[in-house]
């Protein structure tokens, strides 16, 4: 598809060179959060509540402070009062105030001369609790008589008469549901639940903070967004944003979970209290699972109507989600995206954001979308089965396309949903014969993507190589993609571009690498900043040749006269212009900043084959296909990596990952042995097809691809298990005991 003003023939885009950070990573040279050490550094440790809900009566640090090597102890008393809104939530989550709100909630922290002393000192801090009744389940938390987590936490949106734990309420839709359902030949309504799942990044949170009595300092940290880190950390400490400079480390995974703060403000507060000595803090896996953000858990009712020939006539969904002890479960997004794949006239969504005694949820890859997809794509699968319709043809019949008014309001521009369905149907996996106890599942998903505040610079070096500075941490190969886009814009080899992730002191505000925005937004800024450099270089050449700058064009890394009329001059290479730039006007650089609004969503369709052991209920993934629209794949191998990673995480969420709470409200499985992410041998090679329907809002057509991939796996796997066993299971995860019980005809 050719688009006005959009390039369609590329020299570098679409190639798959090695990532610039690859060698560092495989040789151990890359520095992650815990790799930063400085002389005189102290080590921090956190005291965490063992109770799900408890009043903090007293914190006695006398014994800890008397220990040799202990330099500082902090509690909530070391933080300012009077914060409001989300700032208060973040502060309360980083360090409990009057009450511990979940198992793992920080109540005090200590800094000492070694990690062991810090750990022992943390154990020596005596906290007296008065245990309160707790609730961890979303449906229980809404019931009359459920323990109240916090009075007055609800906002204006919540109708009267609901439990105080319901803190936000969403209601949206259009059309006439009664009319829509009346047009249906078949109506199916089901209730679903999904459990909280953790992002499961391999690198635990780690930072080194240093701050003096003047409240100025530095933070070196593993994060997806260092401006967010700066804003939130300084808000928690009640100081000005620019007092702290934040430098991001390499990052060993985040998936949304590293877009907020946990230990970082504590390291700064400990440092200040310890006379400005730097304080390093590294979480254990236990702390990561208990105290950082998993995603929300959900309880949902979805009702859809369909005609005999497969047209969806109406859809209704009620979504209840808990995201821990604070408002913020992404139920707003869940309601937005629940039916967004389809062109439906009559649609209605209701959402409840509920607080419970669990850790504060954090973003996780397409926050809110996978749960909704599980419910709606399961119901569509049931409708197709009962009406004897092909699941892909039925989706094609209802698919949103350019011009469709989305169920959440706006009209779609050019999108690639139909293309993903057609490619899935044509793929050999879709016609592979199935054996006994095997089943096939199809599901689709969507993520709307994001632009966000973006600031980037490009500088020409003396030898004609190029440095790109962006503010979005590289979490999935984005430095390679930025380098490819800069190489394309300049017409110079990929190897001649170096991409840096700059600290907060070097660029304007950048939102994190979240919302699938980095390749889109930082990429766009990189291209625009490169174009500014190109303009300046054309001007230098024009000055030298004594012609108009307009008479100079840029091609293949050279300034050239635009035609015979402009004059006869040999092309000047970027290296030649750069080599003399000191004498022709000084350094050459370009800069671009924007909150680009031309982002466009990505649709995906997955096809999975499973085999279910009828005697044990254990599910094996036999084949897995991801088809997704990338707009334009800058570096196809990393696009495929995103597809495969999303699928792997979604399969884990579907099959075995879950937060398990005991009667006492404590997390039972804060260890990877029992929090079961898929291991490599659990998964087949995940097949991919990259669909490219260019996004007109990006010079090269890029859409974000990071998040959509986790949306279809939950229903795709459940639909395949249904196909293999004849049982529709509406609760995740599909752990063997649950599947076996369903096979045995028991209620699950």
């Amino acid at each position: 598809m050719a688009l006005d003003g959009q390039k369609t023939a590329y020299k570098y885009i679409g190639t798959t060179p090695n990532r610039p950070d690859g060698l560092d990573k495989v040789t151990g040279r890359a520095r992650y959060g815990a790799d930063i050490s400085v002389p005189g550094m102290l080590h921090g440790a956190v005291v965490r509540s063992p109770h799900a809900h408890a009043k903090i009566v007293k914190i006695d640090a006398t014994k800890a402070l008397a220990m040799e090597g202990v330099k500082a102890v902090i509690t909530r008393a070391d933080f300012p009062e009077g914060l409001e809104g989300e700032d208060w939530d973040i502060q309360e989550n980083c360090m409990a105030g009057e009450k511990a709100l979940y198992d793992g909630h920080a109540v005090a922290a200590v800094a000492a001369t070694s990690p062991l002393v810090a750990r022992d000192a943390a154990k020596a801090i005596e906290v007296t609790y008065e245990i309160l009744p707790h609730v961890t389940d979303v449906d229980e938390a809404m019931k009359e008589g459920a323990p109240v987590i916090r009075e007055g936490a609800a906002d204006f949106s919540v109708p009267e008469g609901l439990h105080p734990n319901v803190v936000r309420y969403f209601d949206s839709g259009r059309g006439d549901l009664d009319k829509g359902f009346a047009e249906a030949d078949l109506i199916i309504e089901r209730s679903f639940t999904t459990e909280a799942a953790h992002q499961g990044y391999i690198e635990p949170h780690a930072c080194l903070g240093q701050m003096g009595a003047d409240n100025r300092g530095e933070l070196w940290v593993c994060t997806q967004g260092h401006w967010f880190m700066r804003r939130m950390s300084t808000a928690v400490l009640g100081i000005e944003t620019t007092n702290i400079r934040v430098t991001p480390s390499e990052i060993g995974g985040g998936f949304g979970g590293k877009t907020t703060v946990f230990i970082e403000p504590l390291s700064l507060a400990l440092s200040r209290k310890a006379g400005g000595k730097p304080v390093k803090m590294v979480m254990s896996r236990n702390e990561v699972l208990r105290a950082t953000g998993p995603t929300a858990s959900a309880s949902m009712d979805v009702k859809m109507g369909m005609t005999k020939d497969g047209r969806i006539t109406a859809a209704h969904g009620t979504f209840r989600m808990q995201g821990g002890a604070f408002a913020g479960a992404p139920v707003d997004v869940t309601t937005m995206l629940a039916f967004a794949n389809y062109d439906i006239e009559h649609v209605h969504h209701i959402g409840y954001d509920v607080i419970t005694n669990r850790p504060r949820q954090a973003a996780y890859r397409a926050p809110g979308a996978p749960m909704a997809a599980f419910a709606t794509e399961s119901v569509i699968d049931e409708l197709c089965r009962e009406l004897g319709l092909d699941p892909i043809d039925t989706r094609l019949k209802n698919a949103a396309k350019e011009g469709t008014r989305a169920t959440f309001g706006p009209k779609y521009g050019p999108i690639g949903f139909m293309e993903t369905l057609e490619a899935a149907k044509a793929h050999p996996n879709y016609s592979e014969p199935l054996g006994p106890n095997q089943g096939r599942g199809v599901a689709s998903g969507y993520w709307m993507n994001w632009g966000g505040e973006t600031s980037a610079s490009v500088a020409i070096s003396e030898d004609g190589s190029v440095t790109v500075s962006v503010g979005t941490p590289d979490i999935g190969g984005s430095r390679a993609s930025m380098a490819l886009m800069a190489a394309e814009a300049f017409g110079i080899p990929y190897e001649n571009v170096r991409v840096n992730i700059s600290d907060t002191g070097a660029l304007g505000v950048n939102e994190p690498t979240h919302g699938s925005r980095a390749t889109y937004a930082s990429g766009l800024a990189t291209i625009r900043a490169a174009e500014e450099c190109i303009g300046k270089m054309c001007k230098r050449a024009a000055d030298k040749w004594g012609i108009d700058p307009e008479a100079v064009v840029w091609e293949d890394g050279c300034a050239k006269p635009s035609g015979p009329n402009a004059g006869e001059f040999p092309p000047m290479t970027i290296a030649e212009i750069a080599g003399e730039m000191g004498g022709t006007g000084g350094p050459i650089s370009g800069h671009y900043e924007d909150s680009p609004a031309g982002f466009s969503g990505s649709f995906g369709t997955h096809v999975v084959d499973v085999e279910v052991d009828p005697e044990t209920g254990r599910t094996t993934i036999l084949r897995y296909l991801v088809v997704q629209d990338a707009g334009k794949a800058i570096h196809p191998a990393y696009v495929e990596g995103q597809f495969q990673g999303g699928a792997a995480q979604g399969i884990g969420w579907a099959l075995n990952e879950e937060y398990i709470y005991g009667e006492d409200g404590r997390l039972q499985n804060p260890v990877f042995l029992d929090y079961r992410v898929p291991v490599a041998s659990d998964l087949p090679m995940i097949d991919t097809v990259i669909v490219e329907v260019p996004n007109p809002g990006h010079p090269y057509g890029v859409r974000g691809v990071g998040e959509t991939g986790i949306t279809p796996p939950l229903p795709a796997v459940a639909n395949a298990v249904r196909d293999a066993t004849g049982k529709r299971i509406c609760k995740l995860p599909l752990r063997p005991s649950r599947v076996l019980a369903a096979i045995q005809g028991k209620e699950v």
Partner: protein, 288 residues
């Protein structure tokens, strides 16, 4: 914490006998060091037994069986072709433990003495009829593997006692063994149920059998009724049904995050059937 590196079992025993607080022997350390780091058990005395002569040896006994040293790692057993040919079930129980890295350290005796009801190497040893040599202040004795664990985290070893070797009996003719475990994933998981079957044939008929279950009771079980269900049979469907029923009946599991009572009890029967079929095929000389 005191670290000791004795050069004989007698010395190791003497140190353990005199130690005051919590004592641990350090074999591969894949339980001990993990528990130390996770703040579960911090020993006062850590007695490293890897420097005692002979602990890394795999040797034939006079009667044609095997003696496995207490510091022999899983990977070394898997690499011993003759041992694998004799006792594939014993070796596969050990081989299932952990990852490649863990396999380079983990030992049979560490797995046994850690006392986990779900320990993967234990049912295979019990089914094979393995014994261990125990040395302590009162002298040396030979104990059946099934008599070592007494409950989760507990063993029959008295203060100052330690195990000096594992003895696997001679394989003999027409025998076969197998171990299977159920886990939700494919590796790096704890057995929800484990089952080992060891049997001997005369023609097509089973003449001897031992069946052991793991993770379904406070200790690994030797299930006599399950063995009786298949002795004298050709492992026909009726025998398999009886075996599964006996295995399920022997279960006394807990409900926990890893599996429910109902699920464990059912799957014990399923695994007993499957393990028996593999052991039977192996006894017939088939590759299974």
């Amino acid at each position: 914490m005191n670290y000791h590196s004795p050069s004989s079992f007698e010395e190791a025993s003497a140190i353990a006998a005199q130690a005051g607080g919590t004592t641990r022997f350090l074999a591969g350390g894949t339980d001990v060091l993990v528990q130390l780091r996770a703040d579960i058990v911090t020993p006062d005395d850590l007695i490293d037994i890897k420097h005692i002569p002979g602990v890394k040896e795999i040797a034939r006994t006079d009667g044609g069986g095997w003696r496995i040293g207490v510091a022999v790692a899983g990977a070394e057993m898997t690499e011993c072709a003759e041992l694998c040919a004799d006792w594939p079930g014993v070796v596969e129980g050990m081989d299932l433990i952990g990852s490649t890295q863990v396999q380079g350290r983990a030992t049979l005796v560490g797995n046994l003495c850690n006392g986990s009801p779900a320990a993967d190497a234990v049912p295979g040893m019990i089914a094979a009829g393995c014994t261990v040599t125990v040395t302590g202040p009162e002298g040396t004795r030979e104990v059946a593997v099934e008599d070592i664990p007494t409950g989760p985290g507990k063993t029959a070893l008295a203060k100052g006692e330690l195990i000096t070797a594992v003895t696997i009996p001679a394989r003999g003719e027409n025998g076969g063994d197998a171990y299977l475990r159920f886990i939700p994933r494919t590796e790096m998981d704890i057995a929800v149920v484990g089952c080992a079957v060891n049997l001997r044939l005369d023609g097509d008929t089973i003449t001897e059998a031992r069946v052991s279950l793991g993770a379904v009771a406070p200790t690994a079980l030797l299930v006599e009724e399950a063995a009786q269900a298949i002795i004298g049979t050709t492992l026909d469907d009726a025998a398999l049904d009886a075996l599964a029923a006996a295995a399920s009946a022997a279960c006394n599991p807990i409900d926990d995050k890893r599996g429910t009572i109902e699920f464990r009890t059912h799957v014990a029967g399923v695994l007993a059937r499957r393990a028996a079929k593999i052991a039977y095929a192996r006894a017939k000389g088939e590759n299974a």
